[in-house]
């Protein structure tokens, strides 16, 4: 009756061997292909470095004006632009400017990368139920797997630094982009699509003239979510050497510096709110045509 009280697990030796084989295979893979893979990600490294250099080396008044110009251009709202200005000035005044710029640069690159990868995958998913069946569980894994777990192989392959951090953030932040692109396209009114068919539109014309424009509000919500999730990963990414607001937070945890932690935490919240308000207001402005509904 032993099996009844104790789960009949694999015996210790077999389990140890299994783990050993997998670990060694992966280590061998790392040794043989590590350089190759690093080479593959080299362009990303350049992009990251260039973006970070731009954000930290440009004098602060110019960056502030640039951010305000983007906020104003996207929202046309004095309130939001003023909010951005106050947030940036406070961050600078409390001596967190450089770290904030590094974080913004990182988030910017992550978002661009997530859109560049997520949008085509979302489009493919919306076109085929089979692709959707395959991709959905992968996205579930990406969202629920503790990020420390996939940090291990990434760090083994690429070491500590910006690129592994970027990969970790993108893995965590890309699912909403893919899901909401897929959803947005699938929700496009069937009648309108039929009309496009009736006028002889081919797949390309349907995608660019009908599906993407009509799915845009949903896709914008996806981009917004991606930005928010990327920001949430900043602290974890700092554990593998990504510079920015995450590192002081990490230091604060290790040494119990309460004030240091809360200042940097609030700076992260500040830029999160900035990004959120600006991208949401922009998304709403894109669908102005829906506002005035005839009675």
């Amino acid at each position: 009756m032993d099996w009844f009280y104790q789960f009949p697990s694999m015996d210790d030796n077999a389990l140890r061997n299994l783990k050993k084989v997998i670990d060694e295979t992966f280590r061998g893979f790392t040794r043989n292909y590590g350089d190759l893979i690093e080479g593959f990600f080299a362009p990303l490294q350049h992009f990251l470095i260039a973006s970070e250099r731009f954000m930290t080396k440009t004098p602060w008044p110019i960056i502030t004006l640039l951010i305000l110009a983007i906020a104003w251009g996207a929202t046309r709202s004095i309130r939001i632009a003023a909010g951005c200005l106050v947030t940036l000035l406070l961050i600078g005044y409390f001596d967190m400017w450089d770290d904030t710029m590094r974080t913004i640069s990182m988030i910017f690159v992550c978002t661009i990368l997530s859109i560049a990868i997520g949008l085509p995958i979302g489009i493919l998913m919306s076109r085929s139920d089979r692709v959707q069946r395959v991709v959905n569980p992968v996205l579930d894994v990406m969202q629920t797997m503790p990020s420390f777990v996939y940090l291990i192989p990434v760090v083994m392959l690429l070491g500590i630094g910006k690129v592994p951090g970027l990969i970790a953030v993108v893995i965590y932040a890309i699912p909403p982009m893919i899901r909401l692109t897929n959803l947005g396209i699938r929700l496009v009114d069937k009648d309108v699509l039929e009309a496009a068919d009736a006028f002889g539109a081919d797949n390309r014309q349907k995608l660019f003239k009908v599906q993407l424009p009509l799915a845009l509000p949903t896709i914008m919500a996806g981009i917004n979510q991606t930005i928010m999730m990327a920001l949430a990963m900043v602290v974890i990414a700092s554990m593998i050497g990504v510079q920015g607001l995450g590192q002081p937070v990490l230091k604060a945890i290790a040494n119990q510096y309460f004030t240091l932690g809360i200042f940097n935490g609030l700076a992260i919240v500040g830029i999160a709110i900035m990004f959120d308000r600006v991208s949401q207001a922009y998304g709403e402005r894109l669908q102005k045509h829906r506002e005035v509904v005839h009675g």
Binding site: D189, D191, V192, E194, A195, A196, D197, A198, F199, G200, A201, D202, Q205, K209, V210, P213, L214, L216, Q287, H289, R290, E291, V292, V293, H294
Partner: protein
């Protein structure tokens, strides 16, 4: 464009069965398997059975039926938004059913244009950009398509609205945009799928007038789907009545009203305002030996209502019915005209109903 007389549309032995293994059941349906039997035994739904309709070029063909009769399925076969299970759809002599993908797209771009019940406009585009949609798909330069679009927008009465968004317009105006979008394509075939069913009655009559006026100039082959018999009778040069996926009667409005094929059609026709449909010709007494040259003369193709209107102020007496060249065809009395406006059956039924209620 080279002058080429458009050859009209012919639908021959068209069958549509919905279900995973539709092709296997066509033969059984041909041999008389009914819609209910097909559904119970094989779980397939019979959409259309042996449809044969000839639509001559330049005329309005109305397809009338209640919901579920298969009329919307039928019109989607003409531009093959739905693939048939068997049969031919010849548009200008070419079988649409056999067209490969690319050719079908070209066919849809240049030979057909469609107007939809729910308008199906692009909400993110202005009225003008919606109107040029078909031309844009064809790959025509924007400047040129804007000229065409503006002309049609003006023609359907939307001048000054071209920069509004569809959501800012009423239903009737949105459907004008739908109509302008279809007309801008300048295709010989215009498919109208319950185009006016979502509009309220006044706007609907208004839009019918717009269509009839336009048709005098453009002379397209129009296929018009409706569930409203009054609309069918007003617009249709030819009418086909559909029930449970089968054509139960085809003919002109005169044929339908005066000689309904069965009780189903007769029931519909009962409610119709006959005075607006039936021509004087249909109720006149053929000319006897002695031509009565005295009295009023009216044209044979006048409707009864029009005839009564013109004769109401005329002196009593025999009325001579003449053909367009002025040759006498027959005679009719004012009493006959008045009598023809009300269906004898209907009055009897009505009287019985009142009697029954009183008892």
């Amino acid at each position: 464009m080279a002058e080429h007389a458009f050859g009209g549309i012919a639908i021959r032995h068209l069958y549509k069965i919905f279900g995973p293994n539709a092709g296997a059941h066509v033969e059984a349906v041909r041999n008389g398997l009914t819609k209910t039997e097909l559904n119970e035994r094989h779980g397939h739904v019979l959409g259309l059975r042996d449809i044969n309709i000839e639509m001559p070029s330049g005329s309005i063909q109305v397809i009338m039926g209640l919901s579920g009769s298969g009329k919307s399925t039928l019109i989607r076969h003409i531009n093959r938004l739905i693939d048939p299970t068997a049969g031919e759809v010849l548009v200008d002599g070419v079988d649409v059913v056999k067209m490969p993908e690319a050719e079908l797209r070209e066919f849809r771009r240049h030979q057909t244009a469609m107007v939809f019940q729910k308008f199906a406009l692009l909400p993110h585009r202005s009225v003008l950009d919606n109107t040029i949609f078909g031309l844009e798909i064809q790959g025509i330069a924007r400047a040129q398509s804007i000229d065409t679009a503006m002309r049609w927008l003006e023609r359907v009465g939307l001048k000054g609205f071209e920069h509004k968004y569809p959501n800012q317009l009423s239903g009737g105006m949105q459907q004008r945009v739908g109509l302008a979008r279809a007309l801008a394509n300048d295709a010989p075939v215009l498919l109208m799928d319950e185009a006016y069913s979502a509009l309220d009655p006044l706007i609907r009559t208004d839009m019918q007038t717009v269509l009839l006026d336009l048709q005098k100039e453009i002379r397209k082959t129009i296929v018009f789907i409706t569930h409203d018999l009054d609309e069918a009778l007003r617009l249709g040069d030819q009418i086909a009545i559909l029930r449970d996926g089968e054509v139960i009667q085809q003919g002109t409005s005169q044929d339908i009203v005066l000689r309904p094929a069965d009780n189903y059609v007769a029931n519909f026709v009962k409610e119709v305002n006959r005075g607006r449909v039936v021509h004087v010709e249909a109720i006149m007494a053929p000319l006897g030996t002695a031509a009565a040259e005295s009295g009023q003369r009216i044209a044979a193709d006048l409707t009864i209502e029009e005839a009564v209107r013109t004769l109401a102020s005329a002196p009593e007496g025999d009325i001579t019915v003449v053909d367009p060249s002025g040759r006498p065809l027959g005679t009719v009395t004012f009493r006959q005209l008045a009598g023809a406006m009300v269906n004898a059956h209907e009055t009897n039924d009505h009287a019985t109903a009142i009697a029954a209620n009183a008892a």
